[in-house]
Every structure is written in structure tokens, then in C-alpha cells.
Amino acid sequence: MATLAHPVTVEEREPRVAGGPPASPPQQGDRGGSRGPGFTPADRLRRYRIGLAVGLTPVLMLFVSFTSAYIVRQGLSDDWRSIALPPILWMNTVILLVSSFTAEKARRTAVRDEGPGGLWLGITLILGLGFLAGQWIAWKQLAAQGIFIASNPSSSFFYLLTASHGLHLLGGVLALGYAAAASRLHRPPETRRIVVDIAAWYWHFMDLLWLYILALLFLAQ
């Protein structure tokens, strides 16, 4: 202890019983921390899945906040004029649902190591872009009717919710694109598998989120 400015003197004292759980070597069955920090492909996949589940929480909180604002704003004053939802939304919804199905195909192919699954990835990508294009058309249709973001609180929320969701979905599109390009970029197959798996789960979440938003917009009409 020569490094201390004032040397520590440890006086002799009757030792006391320490608190905390008793000392024991780690058991195989110990919950938590029993494995130790692992770096095998399976460990990494698990870690990224935990990360995704954690990372989706704030996305959820974002939309929960928008929802509470929605409810408050609608109930608050008499200037709310519900807009008619553009019918193309139904088609977009179908596209997104199908894309979730193909994303799952890609994910299972990749995780079970049954080949690159590039075809399913490609289809999902195209469907995702199709959905975004469909949303764009929906905005165009509203704008053609003279309904813009500031026209009415209900249109404000329409644009806000669809745009926020669209931006998040765009993130998913980029992830899928990265997964599709991963083999070209000479990423190890293990990394590609993780990217496909995470992107697909994210995609499902975006799918559910869209259904929720649609229900919210629909019920408020």
C-alpha cells in the first residue's frame, strides 16, 4: 500500500460476519452470469436479439407518446375534423403483411443455414419499397384534396404517424439491403445470418406497429 498518500493501517479487530450470499464457485445451473461473456456465433446472435428487444422499447415509447398526444388533442377542443383515409392504405397494408411473410422465410432460411435466402430477401426489399411508395401516393392523394399537415389536427397526426413509421421502416429496408449485400461485401456468413435475423424481427415489429397505427387512425374517424 505504498502508493497511498497516507499509509493505511489495518488494525486488528474481531471480524464481523459479512452480509451477502455465501461464497461458492459458480454452479452450472446458476441463473444469470453462469455462462460468462461468450463470443461464439450463437452468443452473438442472442446478444443482438436482446439488443433488438431493448432497442424497440424506446420506439414503442415514441408511439405511445404520440398516441397519448393524439387522444388528448382529439378530446380537447372542437376543431378536430377527421379526414377520410385514402383507400390505398388497405393495399399498402396487404403488401406489408406479405412482406413480413417473406422476411420470415428469409430469416428461417438464413438461421437454419439452408442457403443464402437471397431471393426472399430481395422480394421483401421490393415489397418494403412498394409499401413506402404506396404511403407516398397516399400523401399525394391527400395533398391533392388540399389536406396538408397543418390543415387540421387529424391530418397533422396522420402525417406525423405515417411519416414516423415510414422512417423507421426505411431503417429496416437499409438493414435488409445490407444483409442482401453482405455476401458481396465479404462479410462472414455468421454476420450475415445475424443481420438477416435481426432485420426480420425488426420488420415484424414495424408490421405490427403499422397495424396499430392503422387501427388508431381508423377508429378515430
Binding site: 461468450g38 380537447l76 397533422s156
Partner: protein
């Protein structure tokens, strides 16, 4: 085991060599932790400088001040806003959690790094960007905003509401939104790391309390920052594209009717405080962890009531999400809601008291070693109690309606959030400095720094309770014309002088910090004779923390004075057989 060993060596990223990858865009959690720490250090000096200008202006209104010149009432509000924002976000949220958490958490749980090193680097640089955007608000036309750190609408929502409410306010909101993104990335990393990277044998009930506090803080951040981001987005839309989420109808600003209608300023308050109250715990929880760690180490006793400490922190975190309304008693809420918020707020007093008594129980009859980290940890407890005692008063709606807009609230939150959290940072600095920089800080200077700061902050903030009870309102630049406040002027002068001295005393700290970094005596592996894993590795630790070794944990974190042990402390990974439970 040896397989995992090899794996770890292969997969934990290799040590970088170039200067840029090593010190600037580093993936190493230790470098990133230090980057966060220095960002906060810069921020705290900016924030302190702003507060100094305010204090001087309050008592010597005609004084000409550097950089700002004449202080108009609007200028004062600008200083106030930027002071609060910088302190809360870039100091109290940044140093205790992102700074120390990043540096220490992976080592304490026995991991080679954070779960996602690239994300970790990104979150630091995003925080940095956010800070730059915040500072940029000073230099745009109209200057920085004046809507306070709480950004209440409609003041914050209407660009014509005052100087600084144009571009400055936009930058402020964007900076906060970017900060939210950065904090969310950080929280994600902390949570995944704690869940998935713990060493073998590091069960949850063997985690050091510091790790628990960082973990719980990360969960609070994860739930709170998304809400603030949502509020910020809505506010930006109100300001820039003409929506009306927060702006009511019939508003007239500088003689011109505002076009918005139907929005709700209270909606902003709800969203803001749903974030804002958990935020105060984001600032203080890491300090609680650090204090627990240090009190136990320097009392040479196990922490009193480890499990109770964990459950108290968990319940503080949980309750923190249902009390936001206590900031809004003035908003005209129904007395029933006010009552509910009041009861739940006071319920937080229970876990807070449990923590306090357990800290005292830890010191009680310990063989206390009064080194600087210990002094600051004790100071933390003292300030937490002094600041916390005014909480239950403010939690009474009837009392709060009188006290809300007065210096009483300023006293409350500065003691408990401002200074207590800063004491947590100081305690952590003096405690982990040897590990971080491989050298010891100067003990004499440390003690001088402690006493001057401790007495100084009490001298600044205690009298503010009195000012508040006497009716002195907060957020005003000048009250010289008001008769009943005149007798309070001498007290205000006293506070300003105390502030000058206390801020001056921080120079001692800075000198000690930088001098010791290069010239301090070399630190051993475990200078404080502590038990947690960071004290089993060299000071400073190698790139992968454990030098290829994979630690296995066999003991709880605070096994001091264990019967039958060879020393008065047992390291967490020690194999020595210890008989317990005779």
C-alpha cells in the same frame, strides 16, 4: 473454459494502433468513458460560467460583464435556460452514467468491453454533436432561447415570443432530440451488456451496487428519452410547419394574433415531466451506486442491507414514472389528481429513507478511512438528505402553490439533484482516478477541495429556502423595485459571494486532476483495498481489460471483514475458502 478464452481473445476487437482509432474514434469502452467525462467537464465549466453571470447580475445589476456586456431581462433568461439545460443534460446525465458507467461497468462485471462497441462510439459522438448544436444556439441571430430548461409551451412554440425563440430555440430542440437518440443508444448498450456479458458466477445478487444503479438508470433512460423525443418532434412541427399540438387559440404575441388554435400547453407539460421526473433519478441513481460502493469500501464493512438497497433503487425507478404531476400542481389540475400525485410522491420517501439509513448503517462502527472519495461520498449522503427533506413539503399541493415559483424549489433541486449528483461525480473521480490514469490524486488538495466545496454549496443553497419562503420568485433578473424583497438583498449578496468562492475552489480540483494525471505517484492495482473486479486488473487496465484472462466470480461485492479470511477484504474472484454462516 480455455475455448471461451480463445474466443474472447479472437472476437473482442483487437487493440488499435493509430492515434485516431485509439483516442478519437475509439471502440474501447474505457476511452469512450473518459471522452464522456471530459465532455462533461467542459460542459460543467460553461454551465458554471453562466451561473456566475446570473449571480453577479442579481446583486450588482449595473456591473459590466465579460462576453455578454449589459444584461437585459431577456439575456438573463437566456443564461438561465442554457445553464439549466447544459447542467442537466451534458453534466448530470453525461458524467455519472455515460462517463463512469462506460469506464467501469464492463470491468466490474468481468467483460472485455460493452456489448456493442461501435454503437458505443456512435453514442458518444452523437452526444458530442448534440453539445455542439446546443452551443451553436449562442451564436445565431437572436441568440440562445429563453424558455427555460423545461421549454414550456406556448413560449417555446412561437418564434415571435422573444429574442432567441427563433433559430436559437430550434437549435435547442434539435440538440435535445439528438441527445435523446444518443442516450437511447447508450441505454441499449448498458442494458444488453449487464444482461448478457457478466462473468461466470456474477449472478444479479453479486453485482456491485454501482452496476445496479447504472442498469436501472439505463432502464429509466430507455423509457423516458423516447417520450422527450416525441415531445420535441411535436414542438418542432408546431414551430415550423404550422401544426397546433401545444398552442392554444386566441393567443396574441407582440400585438399580432397567432394563427394556431386548439392546442394544449398542458400536453407539453405532461410529456415533458413524464420524462423530467425520471430524468432527476437518471442524474442521481449513479451517484447512489458510487456512494454505496465507496461507503462500504472505506468503512471496511459490507454494505448494510444489500438486497434492500437493490429493491429500493428498483422501487425508486418504478415510482419515478408515476409522480410527474407533482411538477404541475399549479396547472389547475383537479384536486383529486393532485392528491394522487402527492401521495405517490411521498411514497418515494420510503425507499429514499431506506437507502439513507442503510448508508448510515454501513458507516456505523466501521473502521472508517477518511480519504477524499469517502469524504465526497459522505457529502453526497448529507446533501441527499438536506435536499430530500424539502421534497415532502413541495409534494403538498397546498404548500407547493405558494412555493412553486420561488427560490425554495431552486434550493430543493440544486441540493438534491445538482450538488448531490456532482458530489457523486467527484467521489467517483477521486475513487477511480487511480484505475483510469494509473496515478494517485493528491490527497491534501482533495481534502481542501472537499471542505471548500461542501461548506460552499451549503452556504449557497441553504439560504435559498429562506428566500423562497419569504416569497422571492425565481427566474427574474431584477427585483430591486419591489419593497418586500429589499431586506433580502443582503442575503442574495452573501449567496453570490459564496458562489464566487465555491467556483474558485474548483480550480483546486482541476489542478489536482491534470497535475496528478502526469505527475501523481504511480497507483498500485488495488490502492483502496476494494473487492470488485476493476481492482484485480492493472492500473490502467489493458485493452481487453483482463489481459486474455476470463474472470470467474465467487463472492459478493462487499465482503469486508469476513471471519476466517486472511485479510479484511475478499476479492470477488478470489478462490480463498471462506467459512460463512458459522
Amino acid at each position: 473454459m480455455s475455448e471461451a478464452h480463445a474466443e474472447a481473445a479472437v472476437h473482442a476487437h483487437a487493440a488499435p494502433t493509430g492515434f485516431i482509432r485509439k483516442y478519437i474514434f475509439s471502440l474501447d469502452h474505457k476511452v469512450i468513458g473518459i471522452q464522456y467525462y471530459f465532455l462533461a467537464l467542459v460542459a460543467v465549466f460553461v454551465g458554471m460560467f453562466l451561473s456566475l453571470l446570473m449571480r453577479i447580475h442579481l446583486v450588482w445589476p449595473t456591473a459590466h460583464l465579460p462576453l455578454v456586456g449589459e444584461i437585459k431581462p431577456e439575456t438573463y433568461l437566456t443564461l438561465l435556460t442554457m445553464h439549466g439545460t447544459i447542467m442537466v443534460f451534458f453534466v448530470l446525465t453525461t458524467a455519472p452514467q455515460s462517463g463512469f458507467g462506460n469506464y467501469v461497468l464492463p470491468i466490474q462485471i468481468g467483460a472485455p468491453d460493452m456489448a456493442f462497441p461501435v454503437l458505443n462510439m456512435l453514442s458518444f459522438w452523437t452526444t458530442f454533436l448534440s453539445f455542439v448544436i446546443m452551443l451553436a444556439a449562442f451564436f445565431v441571430e437572436g441568440g440562445a432561447p429563453l424558455h427555460g430548461w423545461t421549454g414550456y409551451a406556448p413560449l417555446s412554440a412561437i418564434p415571435s415570443a422573444g429574442p432567441g425563440q427563433t433559430l436559437g430555440a430550434d437549435l435547442w430542440i434539435i440538440s435535445i432530440a439528438v441527445f435523446c437518440a444518443a442516450s437511447l443508444m447508450g441505454a441499449l448498450n448498458f442494458i444488453t451488456t449487464t444482461l448478457d456479458l457478466r462473468a461466470r458466477g456474477m449472478s444479479l445478487m453479486r453485482l456491485p451496487l454501482t452496476c445496479w444503479s447504472w442498469f436501472i438508470t439505463a432502464i429509466l433512460g430507455l423509457l423516458a428519452f423516447g417520450v422527450l423525443a416525441a415531445a420535441g418532434i411535436l414542438l418542432l412541427l408546431d414551430r415550423n410547419v404550422g401544426t397546433s399540438f401545444f398552442v392554444p387559440g386566441g393567443l396574441v404575441m407582440t400585438g399580432i394574433p397567432v394563427k394556431h388554435q386548439g392546442g394544449s400547453p398542458l400536453l407539453w407539460q405532461h410529456l415533458f415531466w413524464f420524462f423530467g421526473h425520471p430524468e432527476v433519478y437518471i442524474a442521481i441513481l449513479p451517484g447512489m451506486g458510487v456512494a454505496s460502493q465507496i461507503l462500504s469500501t472505506f468503512s471496511r464493512k459490507p454494505i448494510f442491507g444489500y438486497r434492500a438497497m437493490v429493491y429500493a433503487m428498483l422501487s425508486i425507478g418504478l415510482l419515478g414514472f408515476v409522480v410527474w404531476g407533482h411538477h404541475m400542481f399549479m396547472s389547475g389540475m383537479s384536486p383529486y389528481s393532485a392528491f394522487a400525485f402527492s401521495v405517490m410522491t411521498m411514497a418515494i420517501g420510503v425507499p429514499s429513507a431506506i437507502k439513507t439509513f442503510n448508508w448510515l448503517g454501513t458507516i456505523w462502527r466501521g473502521r472508517v478511512r477518511f480519504y477524499t472519495p469517502m469524504l465526497f461520498a459522505i457529502g453526497f449522503v448529507s446533501l441527499f438528505v438536506s435536499g430530500g427533506l424539502s421534497g415532502p413539503f413541495l409534494a403538498q399541493p397546498q404548500l407547493d402553490i405558494n412555493l412553486h415559483d420561488t427560490y425554495f424549489v431552486v434550493a430543493h433541486f440544486h441540493l438534491i439533484m445538482g450538488v448531490a449528483a456532482i458530489f457523486g461525480i467527484f467521489a467517483g473521480t477521486y475513487y477511480w482516478f487511480p484505475k483510469m490514469f494509473g496515478r494517485m490524486m493528491n490527497e491534501r488538495l482533495g481534502q481542501a477541495h472537499f471542505w471548500l466545496t461542501f461548506i460552499g454549496t451549503y452556504a449557497i443553497f441553504m439560504p435559498m429556502h429562506y428566500l423562497g419562503i419569504a416569497g422571492h420568485p425565481r427566474r427574474y433578473s431584477q427585483l430591486t423595485e419591489i419593497k418586500f424583497l429589499e431586506p433580502l438583498m443582503s442575503l442574495q449578496e452573501f449567496i453570490t459571494i459564496a458562489a464566487l468562492i465555491t467556483i474558485g475552489a474548483q480550480i483546486i480540483f482541476v489542478i489536482n486532476l491534470f497535475w496528478s494525471m502526469f505527475k501523481g505517484p504511480k497507483a498500485s492495482v488495488n490502492p483502496w483495498e476494494a473487492t470488485t473486479l476493476e481492482w484485480t486488473v492493472p492500473s490502467p487496465p489493458p485493452h481487453d481489460n483482463f489481459g486474455g484472462r476470463v474472470p470467474v466470480v465467487r463472492h459478493g461485492p462487499y465482503e469486508y471483514a469476513v471471519p476466517g479470511a486472511t485479510r479484511d477484504f475478499v476479492m470477488q474472484d478470489e478462490e480463498q475458502p471462506v467459512q460463512m454462516h458459522s
